[in-house]
Amino acid sequence: METLQLALVHALPEVILAIGVIAMVLVGAFRGKPDDGPMSEIAVVLLGAALVAIVLKTPGVSGVVFDNAFVDDRFGDFMKALALIGSIVTLLMAGDFFRGEGINKFEFPILVVLATLGMMMLISANGLIALYLGLELMSLALYVTAALSRDDARASEAGLKYFVLGALSSGMLLYGASLLYGFSGNVSFAGIAAAIGDHPNVGVIFGLVFLFTGLAFKMSVVPFHMWTPDVYEGAPTPVTAFFASAPKMAAVAIATRVIYTAFPGATHQWQQIVIFMSIASMALGAFAAIKQDNIKRLMAYSSIGHMGFALVGLAAGTEEGVKGVLFYMAIYLVMTLGAFAAILSMRVNGKPVEKISDLSGLDNTNRPMALFIALLMVSLSGVPPLAGFFAKWYVFLAAVQANLFTLAVIGVLCSAVAAFYYWRIIKVMYFDDAAPAFDKPSLTLRAVLAVSAVSMLLYWVYPAPLVQAADSAAKSLF
């Protein structure tokens, strides 16, 4: 019989965020001013405290608490840490942008914390109900942030599209959950796995497909990706950065957890689904991005492609594969945050610009920035010895070891096609005539960009910590 204290110890990071966010709501409500004031800093401190709580947790302690609804393990810790880093960096980068646009409302930090809380609950979900709770807590907060800039038609459109399609996907997910409960009589993942055994019946397969569809929407993989380009382009850039980073961690984490803990007996079925989505995402991410001239839209397709690559590891269905996924997500997070730091730095005379042509001749106007962006682009395209290469290496290796040769080959080919648009940015920066120079970015943005690019460049010097963390996290799932 577990005690409440034990449960709260296991869920300490979530508890910190939950209590903190309630306090933030109260402070915001009673402060009486619409601007954000110290809220951003408070939010960063809260998220940082949660991150510290995860990092300092006694290693090896794991457990299932809250009536089988909440699982605390290394896998969760790893992904939660990534999500928290994504949220923290987003908040750090966002302040200047919102102040510049006059939409520095105190709700944004609160919404980010709420969404992050949802992500963490989602990552730790050990049953269908907890999964849905976490997912909706995260999604509802995200819908609002997408439309944060209420006076901007594009942002409103983005928020609305995201909400409507999100509702549709939630419906599918719920329907899948109900089917699963109906056919297995269980809501916990372990219970479902035990009930379906090695021979899933058609109801379970239906449930699996519907459930996975809902998760795929959050991961923005093809064909449930359609919202992504529009929302990425329409939402304020810091919000886009947030969408591209933290929620992706949570969505990939729960998708991984669900298929490994709830459907080990239906490996063949979910493997086919994942392979299909993976190939479709990689291909679309590679091809559709070529024609884009808006860099945020390009990043949207890039993230679709990268989710496809991550799914390659998932499709392998092995511990190696999970390790590859975890590793991929960590590298993806750093690259994405760096890329958005660069996009947020694209301001001319105080106005943000987001065309690729605005980067023209950046090498002449801002040499360090051009170099860092070039490094990130090279890493995103997966060229050794930058970290992006190792990320792809691990997932492809896992796929090859699982005899998924076709998938690996298609992945490599897509990656070659995708290299085109990453390298085009380098070409634009170094060989085209100079466009107007950007304003000097804030210290935070410069720091994020530099740290991201340099860590990608020098990752190979000391790869052990990340590899070991991903390794032990992957082990805890099996």
Partner: protein
């Protein structure tokens, strides 16, 4: 110390090559030259120590290069008498050429690059001669090839220099192909490429055979012939000689160092080094003799009519290399190496002297525009005359001892072999022609009427040669600076004395003590003794030919200068045949170059352009663009389209799930 000899030039290369721009021209020159002189001094110490005194043999291993299965290759320095001889040849000539180049190249704008290349070449050559296995030798072999390519094409803005550089590289590739195959075959036969191992295994392989192309070949013969193919390429022997004359496009110090004294003798060195293998195959040695004899004769005939001063010397080099191979081929490895040794001095001297003439005439190389120069540049004239005397084998000069010894060796071997006798005849005739073209060069350059001043003014009316000669009169030939003359003096001493001083050690009574195990001779090989037991007239034959050549040249170019033109007019076919170098370039162009271009164009336009590019990169790129357009159009912006896509995807997955389940159960 041995490491210092080899690696100091590398250091010089790195300093001048990487830091040359920063250091400036003069410091680069001084550093590389100084390092070379240190290396040279150490080489002489090594020579005295290893060759003349105790002669201890050592092969310190520097590092393991690679180990793969049975194949184990080390970086090591094999130091024995043969190596020490090569060390002094290479470092001495190289040091002098470095010094000479300071003066010769003083107008060039990229001198650090030039000196870096020279040092790189020297390093590679030293790696070659100190190698203790075939792979390291190949490394040096390719290294000198690379440096040669870079230096021939040093004036890369000249298309002819580029073409010559490429030609040298490509022709050498043919030989290197043979070398590689030979190396593979040796490894296949002995399981090793380390010299000690393969030398020890060689006697046991004498009668082994290998099966290739449906025939059984004597293993040793095949291996030796393949390796000799490499030597033919590097040493510009008949059929693979075409690159050497063209290589004269490079700066003259390069010709002296690489294309006369050192690199081209690498083939001779290789055969001598591998004497334990060649001794096992009489057939291979016969081929070496034959090729050497033909080359000596052929190159001498072409040398008779050339007008470019450097080309004459180039053909002479080619011819002398033929002599060396005959020496090797008749089993007198010491004869070949001795001639290599003396030849390095007088041929470098001739080239550097020619360089001095060219320098004096502002890069005029055509002898028809020279003449009467002896009073203008008397020191150069004296040095050139010494070089010529040595080359033609005037008594007591260096060539007299080494070249005549080879001719005598060939005659001695002619006792048991028709090929050796043929080689003897070819060599004697070639000796006469050598004398003729050498003196012709001297007479055309230094005597007769002066043909340079008018042409010079015609050629350089505004004197815009990029020439910085504020220190002498326009158009007036002048003696070269001291940095260029000192090497000439040193080499002159070598050309005069090297033969007399060292004949005892190299080929005389002390030869056995001197070479010890570095050259191998089989138990039936007594060539060094037999060559002393020949009729007396054989010894006088080369001398007679030399005098004959001198007299004819004197007659035709000093006494009656009209005769050559008359002769050429009387025998136009023969004259054209010789002037066009037996039409080898034209022949190769028809047989190899044109078809290769045709084939290349076929693959390029037809294979690559029409098939691979169209279906491959271009086609793929076009399809990618189409795909990109299609993928972008999917994104309509309408929310019902998006929802529809989601539902469609869901339906597809559900359908697939049902069917896969049906199959599963």
């Amino acid at each position: 110390m041995y490491s210092a000899i080899v690696f100091l030039p590398l250091l010089g290369f790195l300093i001048a090559g990487l830091g040359g721009k920063k250091l400036g021209d003069r410091p680069s020159e001084i550093i590389t030259t100084a390092l070379l002189f240190v290396s040279c001094a150490l080489s002489w110490i090594t020579f005295v120590d290893v060759g003349l005194h105790d002669g201890h043999f050592s092969a310190p291993v520097l590092a393991n290069w690679l180990t793969s299965g049975e194949l184990k290759i080390d970086w090591s320095l094999r130091i024995d008498t043969l190596t020490s001889v090569m060390l002094i040849v290479v470092t001495t000539v190289s040091a002098l050429v470095h010094l000479y180049s300071i003066g010769y190249m003083h107008e060039d704008s990229s001198r650090p690059r030039f000196f870096a290349y020279l040092s790189l070449f020297t390093f590679a050559m030293l790696m070659l001669v100190t190698s203790d296995n075939l792979a390291q030798m190949f490394f040096g072999w390719e290294g000198v090839g690379l440096a040669s390519y870079l230096l021939i094409g040093f004036w890369y803005e000249k298309p002819s220099a580029n073409a010559a550089a490429i030609k040298a590289f490509v022709v050498n590739r043919v030989g290197d192909f043979g070398f590689s195959l030979g190396m593979f075959l040796v490894f296949m036969l002995t399981g090793s490429i380390a010299f000690d191992t393969i030398f020890a295994a060689a006697p046991g392989l004498a009668n082994k055979s290998v099966h290739a192309f449906g025939l059984d070949w004597n293993a040793m013969t095949l291996a030796c012939l393949l390796l000799f193919m490499g030597a033919m390429g590097k040493s510009a022997q008949f059929l693979l000689h075409t690159w050497l004359p063209d290589a004269m496009e490079g700066p003259t110090p390069v010709s002296a160092l690489i294309h006369a004294a050192t690199m081209v003798t690498a083939g001779v060195f290789m055969v001598a080094r591998l004497s334990p293998l060649f001794e096992q195959s009489a057939t291979a040695l016969t081929v070496v003799t034959l090729v050497g004899g033909i080359t000596a004769f052929f190159a001498a005939t072409v040398g008779l009519v050339q007008n470019d001063i450097k080309r004459v010397i180039a053909y002479s080099t080619c011819s002398q290399l033929g002599y060396m191979f005959v020496g090797l081929g008749v089993g007198g490895y010491a004869l070949g190496i001795f001639h290599l040794f003396t030849h390095a001095f007088f041929k470098a001297l001739l080239f550097l002297g020619a360089g001095s003439v060219i320098h004096a005439l502002h890069h005029e190389q055509d002898m028809r525009r020279m003449g009467g120069l002896w009073s203008k540049i008397p020191v150069t004239f004296a040095c050139m005359t010494i070089g010529t005397l040595a080359l033609t084998g005037f008594p007591m000069t260096a060539g007299y001892f080494s070249k005549d010894a080879i001719i005598e060796g060939a005659f001695a071997a002619g006792g048991h072999s028709g090929v050796a006798m043929l080689a003897f005849v070819l060599l004697v005739v070639a000796a006469g022609m050598t004398s003729f073209y050498s003196w012709r060069l001297v007479f055309m350059t230094f005597f007769g009427e002066r043909r340079w001043s008018e042409q010079y003014r015609l050629l350089h009316p505004e004197h815009d040669h990029g020439h910085d000669d504020h220190h002498h009169h326009v158009g007036e030939p002048h003696e070269s600076p001291l940095t260029m003359m000192v090497p000439l003096f040193v080499l002159s001493i070598g050309a005069l004395a090297a033969g007399y001083l060292f004949k005892g050690e190299f080929i005389g009574h002390a030869a056995g003590e001197f070479w010890r195990t570095s050259l191998f001779t089989g138990e039936h090989n007594h060539i060094l003794h037999e060559m002393h037991e020949i009729p007396e007239w054989v010894g006088y034959a080369p001398f007679a030919m030399m005098v004959g050549g001198f007299v004819v040249a004197l007659f035709m170019y000093v006494v009656a200068p009209k005769v050559p033109a008359t002769l050429a007019g009387k025998f136009p076919a023969l004259y054209k045949f010789l002037l066009n170098k037996w039409y080898f370039d034209e022949l190769y162009d028809k047989i190899f170059v044109k078809p290769a271009f045709w084939l290349g164009r076929l693959f390029w336009k037809g294979g690559d352009g029409a098939i691979i590019d169209r279906l491959g990169p271009d086609g793929v790129a076009a399809r990618v663009v189409d795909g990109a357009g299609f993928a972008s159009r999917l994104q309509t912006g309408f929310i019902y389209n998006y929802a529809f896509a989601m539902l469609l995807g869901l339906a597809a997955l559900i359908t697939y799930g049902m069917f896969s389940l049906g199959g599963g159960q």
